[in-house]
């Protein structure tokens, strides 16, 4: 059955409401279906027969069920509610019944249908308006406002000083490591002295034995002096040289020890 309507437009299908197309999917819910049905009454929505409408709907649901068409729960809820409304409209009112009258219920349903129809009309009018990008147009080459973003960097004298102070004090926080390249070891001093000592027949200032390039830089000089002094003591101990210092803070002098065998 449904197939025979396949090619028809939705509108035609809807207008053929009396045949009651059993294509529930075509409707957006029970209210939509009811609104479509009400159109067949071809009267002002405020004057339609809700009773007639309810009967139509119930017949539709029955037929749909007969065709074993899956009906969404809200269709069945609506059917139950309409059956209830129908009974209210047909039977004399029970004076003890506290609920709303059938008339009120019917009036509200009519209001709902009319409101839905009104919104559909409004939607149609809205979509029929001239639309931007279809009927009227915006500027084709918008010159977007150029945001000239000027970044201004600031730094105060305090920032500057703190940065410098941080750099200069960084060693305090650095784990202690030997600066190897600035260190002259005793072994190096010993090697150097052993090689040079044979030429030291006379008392010579120990400081003149500092290696080349280690005399001026205070740090290197300190390291070389200490290593050379320690090496000289080692050579004295080994009996290779003599050492002397004339006064406090006077220069330390060394001399090759005369070899007893040498004569």
């Amino acid at each position: 059955m449904a197939e025979t309507f396949e090619d028809q437009t939705e509108v035609e299908a809807r207008l053929a409401a009396e045949a009651l197309i059993v294509d529930v999917d075509g409707y957006e819910g029970p209210l939509d279906l009811l609104l479509t049905m009400s159109r067949t009454q071809k009267v002002d929505l405020r004057k339609i027969s809700i009773l007639h409408l309810a009967e139509q709907y119930l017949v539709f649901i029955d037929r749909a069920k007969g065709l074993r068409i899956e009906l969404a729960a809200d269709y069945l809820v609506m059917a139950a509610w309409l059956a209830f409304l129908k009974s209210r409209l047909l039977l004399p009112a029970d004076p003890n019944d506290e609920g709303p009258s059938g008339e009120e219920l019917a009036a509200h349903l009519a209001f709902q249908l009319e409101r839905l129809q009104a919104m559909r009309d409004a939607a149609a009018k809205l979509m029929a308006r001239d639309q931007l990008g279809r009927d009227f147009f915006a500027r084709g080459v918008p010159e977007s406002v150029e945001r000239v973003r000027k970044v201004k960097y600031t730094a105060t004298i305090l920032d500057l000083m703190q940065a410098y102070a941080r750099l200069r004090t960084r060693d305090d926080f650095r784990p202690y490591v030997m600066d190897r390249e600035l260190l002259f070891t005793m072994e190096q001093a010993l090697d150097r002295l052993r090689g040079l000592i044979c030429y030291a027949g006379d008392w010579t200032d120990l400081m003149s034995y500092l290696p080349e390039g280690w005399e001026s830089d205070p740090k290197k000089r300190r390291s070389a002096a200490a290593a050379t002094f320690a090496a000289s003591l080692e050579l004295v101990k080994a009996g290779k040289i003599d050492i002397r210092q004339d006064d406090v803070f006077a220069p330390i002098q060394i001399k090759k020890k005369r070899d007893p065998n040498d004569g």
Partner: protein, 218 residues
């Protein structure tokens, strides 16, 4: 004539109105989006009165190929609608909206601010997530204030883009709005007792009806 760069300095006098009109014209021509009076005021030299300049400008463009239109509280220049046929090349193919989306949009426009539950009540069917999403994505609707009712549901309202798209000065200019309101069709009328799928309104004490049934019959 040389125009001073904008100065937030009241020492400089505002430029003459004719000059202000030129400036508003330049700014509106330069942007595709509507520009608010406040933004115009911020961009024009200090002491300018863009609102007045707009009045002059609007008048100047009456009957021309483009016109100065009000969109919400902003202003824009748009081509005259009767010349749309010249612009086939510029036409933007918009995604076709589903019937559900169009109806939902209309309901939001005419009933705003409106909650999702209210939209569903009016349509008599659930509103799918995708429908609302699509409208939000088009920037035709946005979230309004939460309703001060239990659950504090969000509401939806239409945007400036919506007004711009449909050439409306404000939501009050929606077609047929007055008539719908007069007919009471924009009311959120609580159903008597329990309606189908509706929340409880106030329980109107049911009056006994004398003539049952066919009172709606013509």
């Amino acid at each position: 004539m040389t125009v001073e760069a904008p100065q937030n300095d009241s020492l400089f006098e505002a430029p003459p109105m004719g000059e202000q009109e030129r400036m508003v014209e330049a700014v509106l021509f330069a942007t595709a989006e509507p520009v608010t009076v406040r933004e115009l005021a911020a961009r024009l030299p200090h002491g300018s009165d863009p609102a007045e300049a707009l009045v002059h400008l609007k008048k100047r463009y009456e009957g021309r190929g483009v016109s100065v239109v009000k969109v919400g509280d902003a202003w824009a220049i748009r081509t005259a609608p009767d010349l749309g046929f010249l612009m086939q090349k510029e036409t933007v193919e918009t995604r076709k909206l589903s019937r559900a989306a169009i109806e939902t949009l209309a309901i939001i426009a005419y009933h705003q601010p409106v909650t999702r539950a209210e939209i569903e009540e009016i349509r008599g069917v659930g509103v799918s997530r995708g429908t609302i999403d699509q409208l939000l994505e088009l920037e035709w609707i946005r979230f309004g204030r939460r309703r001060m009712t239990p659950g504090r549901p969000v509401t939806y309202v239409v945007t400036q883009e919506f007004l711009d798209h449909f050439g409306l000065e404000s939501a009050r200019d929606l077609p047929g709005l007055k008539e719908l309101r007069a007919a009471g069709l924009l009311e959120n009328r609580p159903p008597p007792g329990q309606g189908p799928g509706l929340d409880t309104g106030e329980d109107d004490e049911a009056e006994e009806d004398e003539n049952q049934g066919e009172m709606f019959e013509p």
